[in-house]
């Protein structure tokens, strides 16, 4: 559409003389105002705090510039928490993406075949995600309980394990137990988004591919995957952000233990902010967490940009 034809439209309308651009700002305005007030203002406050040293029990409240950030570099506990967070994020997000893809493909095949139980299948898959995190962490704590938990009982009854596995008390198991819980809880998010994306793939493309003699795998690789790239990007970005910031799930399960083996950045930041009351340093930790999430997201965008542009 050319500029001229747009101008003509405006004339025809007569009553409203807003340019397309003005409409755009009008539409985007409310979102700006809300986000600016409720989200950006507190974030700015947190960033400002990270440049201060605020220790109420020492009666200190002073501007220190980037001192808190410099301190991060010397803080071993921070680096350990970084490693734990990255490990958790990489494991859980990749598992969620793969499983989510599996679930989405399964569900979309089901809807092709019909069947009355389809809707229930959807609900079933969404269910874990519909359970509040604080509650599902408790469900899993109950399952993982080494003496009375279902998991050890079933493994033992099936003859898979000899003795009891101490899922949360063994530093080698604990972080993985948290990953499994997170995967169980949030795979539905990935599955639902990917399913919605699958639905937008025109069936004609598959038909055409079949005419060309492409197999199922070939169709998936050539059609489904490229067209789904924007959705995959969204899933990756949002899941990574959540995984980097994971708090309630791990905090309820292990509290960061044993021996700090499950202490993620957010747990360290939480303890620093609200247990030891180092408001400035805690905010710097949180900002570092944000930078980590941002870097990972940037990485995804750079890696996947080519695919996204191709399909757009």
């Amino acid at each position: 559409m050319t500029e001229r034809s747009l101008a003509e439209i405006k004339k025809q309308n007569g009553t409203i003389h807003l340019s397309e651009r003005a409409w755009g700002y009008l539409f985007a305005g409310p979102a700006f105002i809300l986000v600016g007030l409720i989200a950006l203002a507190p974030i700015t406050a947190a960033l400002w705090l990270s440049l201060r040293q605020q220790l109420p029990i020492f009666g200190i409240d002073a501007f220190v510039g980037f001192q808190n950030y410099l301190q991060l570099f010397e803080d071993d506990r921070f680096w350990a928490a970084c490693r734990t967070t990255l490990y958790f994020t990489v494991l859980s997000v990749s598992a969620e993406l793969l499983l989510g893809f599996g679930f989405a493909l399964l569900l979309s095949r089901l809807s092709d075949g019909g069947g009355g139980g389809l809707r229930w299948a959807h609900v079933m898959i969404i269910l874990p995600w519909a359970i509040p995190t604080v509650v599902s962490a408790q469900i899993w704590a109950w399952l993982y309980q080494p003496d009375y938990g279902l998991l050890n009982y079933l493994l033992y009854a099936a003859g898979i394990t000899e003795g009891r596995i101490d899922w949360l008390g063994d530093p080698d198991w604990a972080i993985h137990a948290a990953v499994v819980m997170d995967v169980w809880k949030t795979t539905p998010f990935a599955a639902l988004l990917l399913l919605a994306g699958l639905k937008t793939v025109p069936q004609e493309l598959y038909a055409a591919a079949r005419v060309d003699g492409a197999g199922t795998w070939e169709q998936f690789r050539r059609i489904t995957l490229p067209l789904l790239m924007p959705v995959v990007l969204i899933v990756l970005v949002f899941r990574t952000m959540d995984a980097v910031r994971v708090f309630d799930a791990v905090f309820v399960l292990t509290g960061g233990g044993p021996g700090n083996s499950t202490e993620t950045l957010s747990i360290y930041a939480y303890k620093t902010l609200f247990q030891t009351l180092q408001f400035g340093y805690g905010s710097a930790l949180a900002t570092a967490m944000f930078v980590l999430a941002a870097l990972l997201s940037l990485l995804y965008v750079l890696l996947l940009r080519r695919h996204v542009q191709e399909s757009a």
């Binding site: 029990i57 009666g59 808190n68 010397e74 008390g169 509290g255 044993p258 021996g259 083996s261």
Partner: protein, 426 residues
């Protein structure tokens, strides 16, 4: 249409509620009492508050509950008290927060509520924990101390007396386990998860060896930490699962009859004695053991009442605190909620002892219970120490190594009281 309906719903319910709430506020003086959820029937406390209201016409006390989880409570209080505009007039604090809150200038001194002579009626531990620079900043509300539960029937069957020392406990546990040949039976369960409960256990063990975590004789401290690890690793009397155990998981094991000894707080007693409990009538409670030559050293727990510095209702709040810690109220709370009262005289009260006979055994224990280190920096210290002790429990660090880190770290924290520039470092 639907959207419009939702907005109407939203606007009407939310604004409707707010206005209604404010309307009742204006009608009288309101005191907001913020506290963690209490065990047992919440109506007991509500009834008490209604009683107080009746004596003060025009007064309204609003209870605002927080989850019992003390981390969340600490978070809430820190956020609200810092800045001095706390939207509550009375709060219940953990014994370990009193110094910190007082040092930060968040809570007001309450010397008038409790005269020095009246403080004599209270247990000494909580009063020590609530006194900062010679002034009383909180009034103890109820107390707790670590105790040792044991299975009387099992000890009887194997001809043992309850142990007084830790080595004795380990020896008896091993012999009973050998004799019972029950793969499900554990010798000694305690709280080994990385949290505040582990601090209590560690302090109890070390202090009962005449030392402490970050001061006192280093060899004996190392020995104490090693003992904790060895209950799991070499004695085999403590299940591996103890490294994630909190109070409840140990109570389940013990309550199911699957443990001989348990370190826990007195709360577990009434649950173990409940109708249908497999160990009903088979359980005894004694002071925690000590190492030979030293005295049992239970750690003090419990909650206190405090008043934010900015409260506009100071007079009435002081009176309310006075009321909630009065002998009558303490008696009622002990009778109906099963909390251990802070006033010593109640431990000889016949009506109370009849309903709660355990109080008689608890009295000497509570009397000797020592608070965790009384310093405003306790939480800083605790957060630095917990991971190290936890690492010892799971065998990731040797006691010597962990103790070295703990002492270095604590010295750093205490030493930097004047220039706390690098508190975040570990």
């Amino acid at each position: 249409m639907i959207i419009g309906a939702f907005f109407l719903l939203w606007v009407s319910t939310t604004f409707g509620c707010t206005q209604a709430g404010e309307g009742t506020d204006r009608a009288s003086t309101t005191v907001v009492f913020k506290h963690g959820k209490l065990s047992g029937d919440g109506r007991v406390l509500s009834d008490l508050l209604r009683d107080f209201e009746r004596r003060h016409p025009g007064l309204l006390i609003r209870e605002e509950l927080l989850p019992a989880d003390s981390d969340r409570q600490h978070q809430y209080y820190a956020m609200n008290l810092d800045g001095g505009k706390a939207p509550f007039d009375l709060l219940a604090i953990d014994t370990i927060w009193a110094q910190e809150f007082a040092k930060a200038g968040w809570i007001a001194p309450l010397d008038e509520v409790l005269t020095p002579t009246e403080r004599e009626d209270f247990f000494p531990g909580p009063i020590e924990a609530a006194t900062f620079q010679g002034r009383l900043y909180a009034v103890p509300w109820y107390v707790d101390a670590g105790v040792l539960y044991y299975r009387r029937d099992l000890l009887d069957r194997h001809g043992f007396e309850p142990p007084h020392t830790w080595p004795e406990l380990a020896r008896i546990a091993k012999l009973v386990l050998d004799g019972e040949q029950d793969s499900k039976l554990a010798g000694f369960v305690w709280q080994g998860k990385q949290y505040e409960g582990l601090m209590c256990v560690a302090l109890e063990v070390l202090r009962s060896n005449g030392t402490d975590l970050w001061s006192g004789d280093r060899d004996r401290a190392e020995y104490g930490l090693r003992f904790l690890r060895e209950t799991i690793a070499t004695h085999g009397i403590t299940p591996l699962s103890t490294s994630m155990a909190d109070e409840e998981s140990t109570r389940w094991i013990f309550g199911e009859g699957h443990a001989l000894f348990m370190r826990n707080w007195p709360y577990a007693w009434s649950m173990l004695q409940q109708e249908g409990s497999p160990v009903r009538g088979k359980v005894g409670v004694i002071p925690l053991p000590a190492f030979p030559g030293f005295r049992s050293a239970p750690v003090l727990g419990g909650w206190m009442l405090a008043m934010p510095n900015n409260s506009t209702q100071q007079e009435i709040v002081r009176e309310l605190i006075s009321f909630l810690t009065s002998p009558d109220t303490q008696h009622r709370i002990a009778m109906e909620l099963g909390y251990n009262p802070v006033r010593r005289a109640l431990y000889t009260d016949e009506s109370l002892l009849e309903l709660r006979p355990l109080l008689k055994d608890l009295y000497p224990i509570l009397l000797g219970a020592k608070p965790r280190p009384v310093t405003p920096y306790y939480l800083l210290v605790s957060q630095a120490v917990q991971p190290e002790v936890s690492a010892v429990v799971v065998g990731r660090r040797s006691p010597a190594e962990a103790l070295g880190i703990i002492r270095r770290r604590v010295e750093q924290i205490m030493g930097e009281q004047t220039s706390p520039a690098r508190l975040g470092r570990s």
